[in-house]
Symmetry: C2
Subunit: 143 residues, 2 copies
DNA sequence: CAAAAAACATGATATTAATCATATTTAGGA
DNA sequence: TCCTAAATATGATTAATATCATGTTTTTTG
């Protein structure tokens, strides 16, 4: 459902939200260790997120990655879409090209209500919402 | 969420349910054409399903694949599990190893109620249930 | 019993996703 | 200004899926 890349990206963005800002940047290597993601892969992912302006970065000594307040208001789905593309989550679970409400596949009615709800939630919850839950110890990140 | 193999398997099993029985078998090649799945891949998949006794087969002239009544009562989830394994659908969407109700990942509460419902439905609906919907033109298979 | 038609078993190739590696660019500090 | 520390760009490798191909076994039928 989510690629590894999306999972890693979500973890990283959340970690950055909790631990960085413009004055407290963090290197790819350190982030990768904290959230248990292979370091070279993490670096590449963070670079991609920075290029698409989901997170921010500066080069050179004292440089690193961080996230600024406006980006903390992005939704979970925005992060996922940047990595996996828009259609992946919404495509027919039986792989039929033209499956829709008027011409549904056999499992459409089984899958779709739940999935639509899930997607709606991912589109409404922001990074910041999740970060708050983390601060309150209502949810957890490691492993 | 589902591998291509699972999607193809589901389509094939449904097709067999509608069009075959012990006296009306069908060759891999013909099934593959009907449901738009690459023929060699279809053959391999059908052989696997037959070995695990999800469907039946006989060799030689007039041979082919078919499904018998008792197998039509298998659930959708059983088909999926035979191909993708049990855990794939239930694993944490953030990829955390020990995510659970007591120590949930940040998106656990967003995802899980919907997903649990989806899984419960896949575990309760049988091949036969879907075949009935197909017969009544309530749902569709092609492409 | 021989030939042909089918599934079966096995392995080869291709494609995609995940992971690793490294030379280049940029910025800070001595 | 020069050195160093960081991200960046790019590409190589590995691993997992998906796909293709083919020789072997079984069964029907002439």
């Amino acid at each position: 459902m989510l690629s590894n890349s999306s999972k890693y990206a979500l973890k990283a963005v959340l970690y950055l939200t909790l631990h960085t800002d413009e004055n407290n940047k963090m290197m790819a290597k350190d982030i990768s260790e904290k959230i248990s993601v292979p370091k070279a892969y993490m670096a590449k992912l963070l670079q991609g997120l920075a290029k698409r302006e989901i997170i921010s970065s500066t080069k050179g000594p004292k440089g690193g990655f961080y996230i600024n307040p406006s980006n903390k208001n992005r939704t979970i789905m925005e992060i996922i879409e940047v990595i996996d593309g828009k259609k992946k989550m919404e495509s027919c679970m039986m792989g039929l090209k033209d499956c829709n409400e008027h011409k549904p596949c056999p499992i459409h009615s089984i899958i779709n209500p739940s999935r639509s709800k899930m997607i709606a939630l991912l589109e409404s919850k922001t990074i910041n919402d999740l970060a708050k839950d983390l601060k309150l110890n209502k949810v957890f990140l490691p492993s």
